[in-house]
């Protein structure tokens, strides 16, 4: 198929950037979206033009490195990661617009590559159980009801891609933050630091400049892993009960 691509090009963080249009032909329906961009980049290389920079790594939908706002939706028209999106979702003659994630907490580094280290800093604020290597109890000394383990797992499947932030009209990171707070709040291992974790992670999330939540549900609808909105409710609960009862004045 033949396609027209409107791609955001930006030389570096300071550059203003703008859209550039490219024509591309000979795309097969079996290609993944990123393979289509590989073809474009080979073409550009041939012509001596700088290839389009985009983040990607595992290309099997689990590392969370790929991004892209495709035709007005994070990760494109299907609820999956961009690397798992295939060209059969498009038809011959289509125009496809490709933009980077837009959020002040995710500054653009080049073209479609954004800096998501804000997510790392949110986890560093408390997204862990403080146990050192060794000196832990036998694994089966901590029984966990299967339903809780399963629900904690569902929250833990977050791949940290940032589609939730990209989809949210407020560029809010609540779904991401709440997934980790939820996972650890539901498990016995997470109880000791439960209050501290909720307070610190929310504070970090705010400090990074992510927006607030309007409960539109766009984040969950676009999440490639289908992380549920109930996590945000749980985070709110955790946070409110933490601030009223913790010792942090």
């Amino acid at each position: 198929m033949d396609l027209t691509l409107k791609i955001w090009r930006q030389k570096n963080r300071a550059d203003k950037g703008g859209f550039k249009e490219y024509k591309i032909g000979g795309i097969s329906a079996d290609m993944s979206f990123l393979e289509m961009l590989d073809v474009l980049n080979e073409d550009l290389s041939e012509k001596g033009e700088d290839p389009v920079h985009f983040d990607h790594d595992c290309r099997e939908g689990i590392c969370g490195m790929c991004s892209l706002h495709i035709n007005g939706k994070p990760h494109g028209p299907q609820q999956t990661t961009t690397c798992q999106l295939h060209m059969r979702s498009f038809k011959d003659g289509d125009t496809i617009s490709i933009e980077p994630w837009r959020a002040s907490a995710f500054p653009i580094l080049k073209d479609l590559v954004v800096d998501r280290s804000a997510f790392d800093r949110i986890i560093q604020a408390g997204g862990y159980v403080s146990v050192n290597t060794g000196g832990v109890p036998d694994a089966n000394e901590i029984p966990i009801p299967k339903v809780m383990a399963d629900e904690a797992f569902d929250a833990a499947t977050c791949i940290g891609c940032g589609a939730c932030v990209a989809a949210c009209k407020n560029a809010s990171a609540m779904l991401f933050t709440s997934a980790k707070i939820s996972q650890l709040a539901m498990l016995p291992q997470g109880q000791v630091e439960r209050k501290d974790r909720a307070e610190k992670m929310v504070a970090q999330m705010d400090a990074e400049g992510f927006g607030a939540c309007t409960n539109t549900g766009a984040c969950s609808a676009e999440c490639p892993k289908g992380i549920s909105l109930t996590n945000i409710a749980r985070m709110n609960r955790e946070y409110f009960s933490a601030v009223v009862s913790s010792n942090n004045v």
Binding site: L34, S117, N140
Partner: protein
Amino acid sequence: MILDSKIPAGPLAEKWTKHKFNMKLVNPANKRKYDIIVVGTGLAGASAAASLAELGYNVKAFCFQDSPRRAHSIAAQGGINAAKNYQNDGDSIYRLFYDTVKGGDYRAREANVYRLAEVSVNIIDQCVAQGVPFAREYGGLLANRSFGGAQVSRTFYARGQTGQQLLLGAYSALSRQVANGKVKLYPRTEMMDVVKIDGKARGIITRNLVTGAIESHSAHAVLLCTGGYGNVFFLSTNAMGSNVTAAWRAHKKGAYFANPCFTQIHPTCIPVSGDHQSKLTLMSESLRNDGRVWVPATVELSEKLRKGEIKANDIKEDDRDYFLERKYPSFGNLVPRDVASRNAKYVCDEGRGVNETGEAVFLDFRDAIQRDGEDTIRSKYGNLFDMYQQITGDNPYQGPMMIYPAVHYTMGGLWVDYNLMTTVPGLYALGEANFSDHGANRLGASALMQGLADGYFVIPYTVGDYLAQNTIERISEDHPEFQRAEAEIKERVEKLIRIKGEKSVDHFHKRLGKIMWNYCGMARNSDGLSKAKTMIKELKEEFWTNVRVLGSAEELNLSLEKANRVADFIELGELMIDDALAREESCGGHFREEYQTEEGEALRDDENFAYVAAWKYLGEGKEEELNKEPLEFENVKLTQRSYK
């Protein structure tokens, strides 16, 4: 140089305990005076960085991705083995050790493997304490499954995303140490070289992938946790960025490279669909529990299939050749990975492949669906079926899947002693980057185990032993050795840009991949390997005269990053071929066509080849020197594998 594996004396089961006692310790107050560099943040890297920081060392952690959480360990699906014997089904540390040595076709060190099995139980405890949501039974205790043909259920899992959950556990421990100020993170940073001072590894040179800045980092020890080199084949199940550069640069600085030709080809991957293909996707091997592997009985039928004249479901039962069930009646579709892969290749070589490229076989769930119902199959494999449909556009509930083997894991890697130290003092290799535990073939659910064993439970002891015996003095990054190394790297980067040739980096990578796959893939022979060696030499020359790298060195530049990696892959490819040529036997993932039994099975030569081949780099354009570390088996009896 005589390779000293430093395996402690004494009975197998006591070696590690005794060794831990005999090792020197670093005074707690002194730990903060030592700096340790960890390259790579996968299971091995993240767990090592976190554990060392917890002990009090200053750690610098590097990864080329935008976050430590992206490392490719995250993609492991199946599970992690541990000799917990929670199922009361006869498992033990000794059995896990035995299975691993046997599964590796007797080309691994007994002592290392025993230690791996020994600490496997601690890994599960550690991960659970971190909040890793493993699968559980209704009683709240951990669930296990049997994996990869093992006769006991010792695999712990988190649905089909075990690697993800374990990595996020290690990443959380790492993040905690970043918050504590004990780990400094360097994401989007690639290691370019190891710096040796007075014969010891004392730092690395890196390139900041965003700004292009070449920087020096000094330390008392350097840990390479940089994964495997499967991407030498261009197409593999590795992530796009997985590369050999860190290990290769270390090799050129004096670290021996062991058993480079040992690669694992995984049988159940989604076949290549065309030239545009950038990577291959693995589907869990558990599919072979219910799926039946077949191709049409005749070449004519396959041709019709390929032309689209008939569909798989049109082919009558009598015209189907369930070749694994036919050849291996007792194991059937569950034969080990290498056997399943090789047989798929054979039928496709005969012209009986089933997709357009002729390189695919069917994996059919028709009978399983008829027997158990679609719902049961959906509950077992739903996510895999969905993934298949997402990628291929075909519905596997209605017709058979198509699969083909793909490069998945590399058992070879930097040679390390029992302490995980390479032949360069102070330079360590952990996880898939080293060679030590899997011999010639890795068992399912053992990669995660090894990465975490090395990082959480081995390196914290062995690095301490080294540091305690070495100087506490820091070396400034202005040291002439750093300056010289920086200048060399800058020159190399500039050189790549200066070539301004005609062909893209991917062009060379694809050609390299084809050579490796055709001549050093599932089956190898002397003629092919010799031919491939010439081809790679030519490719290398062409690369350095005709590659086109656009943009500048002082910016985010993907084609420069790739060029730098592919240049190293080409050199590694040549060494793999040398290694495959030198090993005149078949074992595990290494199948030399000249050495097979009458039934076409791998024929080991324990008399002459029960050794680790450790290659020493002698300089640009020179043949590498083969060093042999003999493998002694005092506890297991060497037998020929049979799955008939």
